[in-house]
């Protein structure tokens, strides 16, 4: 057992910002990633921990100004039980339900999933597909980072070392559809081999898709959107032909790798087939 790093537990955001500005601290929210890294001796042991669990400002789920806003400390269980989440972000609730098991869902937070920046983070493709905005804060103030710009590399984010994730904002769009699918090794407690979120808008009752987003996890070093495949789907109706072309396009667009969970070939094939299936199910043929 390693030596436990010292932990600070600020009671308000100002105190937390000050601590972060003074010296490097690793935030710890639910700890479901951090504790595994510490006890498993994976990576560098953090010098100091900043326990954000008591920062009430990071909790809460609200609907205002055309957006669903979810505090960084919101747990998966809270999202699953939240009526606004279920109404405005059912795909996110679906993703939350696939994460870990009850213990992890009671403790793990959306802020932790975002900041941990694992390529396999299951909520992240949903956030990308929904054009989420991530609100970060520090002594210098708050700023908004689009989900599409947030994950910059393998386990790297746009966050500065003194910044916290405060909340995530999901624009509410009544004509938007979002689909989610996770492929893991087993039916629960599995890290994704491939995770996908697909979204589109339907305008004026027309069958053609607009503002299409195809977001993927576990097929690159970070959660990604496949923009060429999106472009192909933009303005297309969900026909068999579209689905086949999109499947081919996405298979060509991604460059997954072989690793301990799966193979590049499997990931590519399954991504293509799941996308095809989602389009077919949307098309109802």
């Amino acid at each position: 057992m390693p030596i436990q790093p010292p932990v600070e537990s600020p009671r308000d955001l100002g105190e937390a910002y000050a601590l972060l500005a003074a010296t490097h601290h690793r935030p710890i929210a639910g700890g479901t990633d951090v504790m595994v890294q510490i006890t498993g001796e994976i990576g560098q042991l953090p010098d100091r921990l900043l326990d954000v669990w008591h920062l009430e400002g990071l909790r809460g789920i609200t609907v205002s100004e055309g957006a669903l806003t979810i505090g960084a400390l919101t747990t998966y269980t809270a999202m699953r039980h939240s009526a606004p989440c279920r109404e405005h972000a059912p795909a996110l609730v679906e993703a939350a339900a696939t994460i870990g098991a009850a213990q992890i869902q009671n403790r793990g937070t959306i802020g932790g999933n975002i900041a941990n920046a694992s390529p396999a983070g299951d909520t992240l493709p949903v956030l990308l597909a929904m054009d989420a905005e991530i609100v970060a804060g520090s002594l210098r103030g708050e700023r908004i980072v689009a989900a599409a710009d947030f994950w910059t590399g393998y386990r790297r984010t746009a966050l500065a070392p003194d910044e916290l994730v405060l909340r995530v904002r999901l624009p509410i769009a009544p004509d938007r559809e979002v689909r989610f699918r996770k492929i893991g090794t087993r039916r629960a407690q599995a890290i994704s081999k491939v995770v996908m979120a697909l979204s589109w808008h339907l305008r004026d009752g027309r069958p053609e898709w607009r503002d299409v987003r195809v977001a993927l996890g576990s097929v690159a070093e970070r959660p990604i959107r496949v923009v060429a495949t999106e472009a192909l789907l933009e303005g297309a109706a969900p026909t068999a032909e579209t689905a086949a072309r999109a499947a081919e396009a996405v298979a060509g667009e991604i460059k997954p790798i072989d690793d301990v969970r799966s193979t590049a070939d499997y990931r590519r094939a399954v991504t293509a087939r799941v996308l095809q299936r989602m389009i077919r199910e949307a098309g109802g043929w």
Partner: protein, 818 residues
């Protein structure tokens, strides 16, 4: 659900002596649905349920230090030096190297090749091999010290592919009849190569041992273990101790599955060496990561199979080659290989059999005991062959098995005549009836035909395919060959001075029920309340050596000794008092004092095995198991959901219905994991997925509905007729699931696990992938080979060329009138 059935066949030649346990078992034919039916609650259950059970890590030994192991990070190297950083204060920690071992630097088991610690100048033979030991007063200091110790090594070339290895740990060659001639004359020859990988036991409690120095210069170890006397022997040898000064005490043990058969000797030696050097108790409790990285796994195997079938559809030839990967040291490999060799033909009568097997060394961590012990690997291959032959012949896999399965009087490849307790057909029929196998099979075949012959499905079609699969298996009860005779186990029963009954054995409880069934057997034999029977602690200072708790031998062999000891105790007390034991024992204890009976194993009458020629009765009896599995396969992702399993297992005699059912359910789920998701990935001899986040086993959500049918075909050599249940279900789950995947998709997966990656590759959805390319081309080739062979054979497609019943005219039938 448990459905208990008697075997409908005629009386066995020597029916077991009627024995009191009969009073405890459920009337044959009754459905018990998980009900104990008068069988007692688990002895250790309340303590476990309320959290007061003490596992090794719960025990407090004042002043104890923490022990840790420094392990190799290379697969093959010479150890040049162990360097201690002079900038670190070593006075507060204790370091142990091979030089500190007073006796032989050997983990005593079958062969003397495995060192307790690699000596300087010696050879590191696998990744995570123990090289040095450290103990410190706290974990922080232990961690710090570990970082200040460096191993200097010179790399050596390593061998990872068992087919490239020139170092053979063991080999066997069993021949019966003339295989080449039979294959040459066969109408159909089906060939296959099957590869199965490592499997991790994944007991809930990691390996754990605490060593405490004794005043007499010896040492006591307390820990999580299956075989107290294996450890006792290892301590005596390496530490130069006599029987008394080495003491081994089992703590509450959170599962073993074979994984705590041999490795605890290693960790006990490490803890003891540290404890003796720092003269205080030392705790060695593994983290999961270390446990998976360093301890034994199920042996990977490559099984090459050729089966010959004649014009009438009889199985006339089996030519089998088994190669097992033993890892870096011998451990139990020769015995695992022996069991694998003896089970390789499956439960089928065949005149001409050749089984050649070898287990070889590679520079990977040693493989060892795991539930099934060599049989699951080969029986997977055997059942794949039968299912593939059935496909080529266009015969129902059930029908084919009915014709081929061993009957009483048949002869096995070692020349063993199956005289009694033969229930292969019985379990087959019970499982398939309960599962409505043929009806479901018709339905799945229809769905497959509608989807298209290649099974890949048509656009717009249902993307989930259902299938049903079948497997039949056998498992030799107890130790192989003359093993039990060599073990010469002793179990004791004592009427204590205070008028209670004590059962003294070294047989361990690890969740499977030893502590519950022994009091049951004793109480029933003596006619006393089960509450009056105590189990003595598994402490080598107290109990005799009743042998290891392995090989499904506890209920059959040791349970038999307990009954016999009770019988003698009863006779002695009844002779002395002139009254029935149940009435007299309390008075007798008061008047006469304690009475103890030691019962030693006596060879089962008529059971003989020749180790030199590998012929004769390989096992005193066999257990029989059938499994029907239903799966759903997602044709887009290759994901398999096992929905429903019906398992029929013949265990000889059911002692405790709930515990027996638990063994069947647990073994079935473990087999499903083996079949579908459990896979160790290696890189340069190191396990890549050596954590719970990456080595996955099925969860409750992955578990199918399991119906267990307990069949009783008693073994006359055991006073209660029991044959053991622990390993049986492990042998049949995987081939049943893979057969069901084939039924759903039309493709055969030859390698375990039948992962989604392999399934999609076989369906042609992906290019060859690193884990499945070889499997795929091979599968395609030998399915073609089989089909070609079928085309050449003058068997009319569409008609069933097989006789509908077995007849005595079949040339390979041995006379049955014995």
């Amino acid at each position: 659900m448990t459905i208990r059935t008697p075997t409908p066949r005629g009386p066995v030649r020597s029916a077991p002596a009627r024995s009191a346990p009969d009073a405890l078992v459920v009337p044959p034919g009754e459905i018990t649905t998980g009900h104990a039916r008068g069988a007692p609650l688990r002895r250790e259950g309340p303590a476990k349920l309320t959290g007061v059970a003490k596992y090794a890590d719960d025990l407090v030994f004042p002043g104890a230090w923490y022990g840790g192991t420094v392990r190799s990070t290379e697969a093959h190297a010479r150890l040049d030096a162990i360097e201690l950083d002079p900038g670190f204060d070593w006075s507060g920690v204790v370091v142990v190297s091979a030089a500190d071992i007073p006796g032989d630097n050997v983990v005593s088991l079958i062969s003397d090749d495995q060192p307790v610690l690699v000596p300087v100048g010696g050879e590191i033979r696998h990744h995570a091999e123990p090289v040095a030991l450290l103990a410190a007063p706290d974990r922080g200091m232990l961690r710090e010290a570990r970082q200040r110790l460096t191993l200097r090594t010179t790399p050596l070339p390593a061998v990872f592919d068992p087919l490239q290895s020139g170092e053979v740990f063991a080999h066997f060659d069993i021949r019966r009849g003339d295989v080449e001639a039979a294959l040459a004359g066969a109408e159909l020859v089906v060939e296959g190569i099957y590869r199965v990988g490592h499997q991790e036991q994944l007991y809930i409690e990691n390996q754990a041992m605490i060593a405490v120095p004794r005043d007499d210069g010896g040492v006591a170890v307390h820990g999580s273990l299956q075989c107290p006397y294996y450890i006792h022997k290892a301590l005596k040898r390496a530490l130069l101790l006599d029987d008394r000064r080495a003491r081994v005490v089992q703590t509450e043990t959170g599962g073993g599955f074979g994984g705590k058969e041999e490795y605890p000797s290693m960790i006990a030696l490490h803890a003891a060496l540290l404890a003796l050097k720092c003269k205080r108790p030392v705790r060695m409790i593994y983290e999961r990561h270390e446990d998976i990285a360093a301890t034994t796994k199920r042996h990977p195997a490559i099984v090459t199979y050729r089966s010959g079938v004649d014009r009438e559809g009889h199985l006339i030839a089996q030519d089998i080659e088994v190669v097992m990967d033993g890892g870096a040291y011998t451990t139990l490999t020769p015995v695992v290989l022996s069991r694998g060799t003896l089970h390789a033909g499956g439960p089928y009568a065949c005149e001409n059999v050749r089984i050649r097997s070898r287990a070889v060394a590679t520079n990977t961590p040693p493989n060892g005991a795991f539930r099934g012990f060599g049989a699951p690997q080969v029986e997977f291959a055997a059942e794949m062959q039968v299912n593939r032959i059935a496909e080529v012949l266009k015969v129902s896999p059930l029908e084919l098995r009915r014709r081929w399965v061993y009957q009483r009087g048949d002869v096995t490849p070692t020349g063993q005549v199956l005289r009694e307790s033969v229930a292969g057909e019985e379990v087959l029929l019970r499982a398939t009836e309960a599962a409505e196998y043929e009806r479901v099979r018709e339905r799945t075949a229809g769905a497959r035909a509608r989807r298209g012959a290649d099974g890949s499905g048509r656009e717009g079609g249902d993307r989930t395919a259902s299938g049903i699969g079948l497997a039949l298996g056998w498992h030799g009860a107890g130790f192989t060959g003359s093993g039990e005779v060599h073990l010469a186990s002793i179990a004791s029963v004592e009427l204590t001075a205070d008028g209670r009954i004590a059962v003294l054995t070294a047989s361990t409880e690890m969740g499977q029920g030893t502590k519950t069934i022994f009091p049951q057997l004793a109480a029933a034999e003596l006619g006393v309340p089960v509450e009056d029977v105590d189990i003595a602690p598994q402490d080598t200072g107290i109990v005799p050596d009743s042998g290891p708790t392995v090989a499904s031998r506890t209920a059959m062999v040791v349970g038999g000794l307990v009954i016999k000891a009770c019988r003698r105790l009863r006779e002695e007390v009844e002779a002395r008092t002139g009254r029935p034991f149940a009435e007299a024992y309390r008075d007798d204890a008061r008047d006469h004092g304690p009475t103890r009976v030691d019962q030693q194993f006596e060879p089962y009458p008529g059971v003989q095995f020749d180790d030199a020629t590998y012929s004769g009765d390989a096992y005193p009896a066999f257990g029989w198991a059938a499994c029907v599995a239903e799966v759903d396969v997602d044709l887009d992702t290759g994901e398999v959901a096992v929905r429903n399993v019906v398992a029929a297992d013949d265990v000889g005699r059911v002692i405790h219905p709930v515990l027996a059912e638990g063994q069947v359910e647990g073994g079935t789920l473990q087999a499903i994991g083996y079949a579908t998701i459990e896979e160790i990935k290696l890189e340069d001899g190191r396990y890549l997925n050596d954590r719970l986040a990456t080595y996955l086993i099925p969860t409750a959500l992955d578990a199918p509905r399991i119906t267990s049918i307990l069949v009783e075909a008693p073994f006359s050599g055991a006073p209660h007729g029991a044959k053991g249940v622990g390993e049986l279900p492990m042998d049949v789950g995987a081939p049943a699931v893979v057969d069901a995947i084939h039924d759903a998709t039309g493709v055969w997966i030859h390698d375990l696990p039948a992962s989604p990656e392999r399934i999609l590759a076989a369906l042609g959805a992906t290019g060859p992938t690193s884990s499945s390319s070889a499997g795929r081309s091979r599968s395609d080739k030998d399915v073609e080979g089989a089909v070609d062979a079928a085309m050449d054979a003058p068997i009319e497609v569409g008609t069933d060329p097989l006789p509908t019943e077995r007849t005595d005219a079949q040339p390979f039938r041995a006379p049955t009138d014995r």
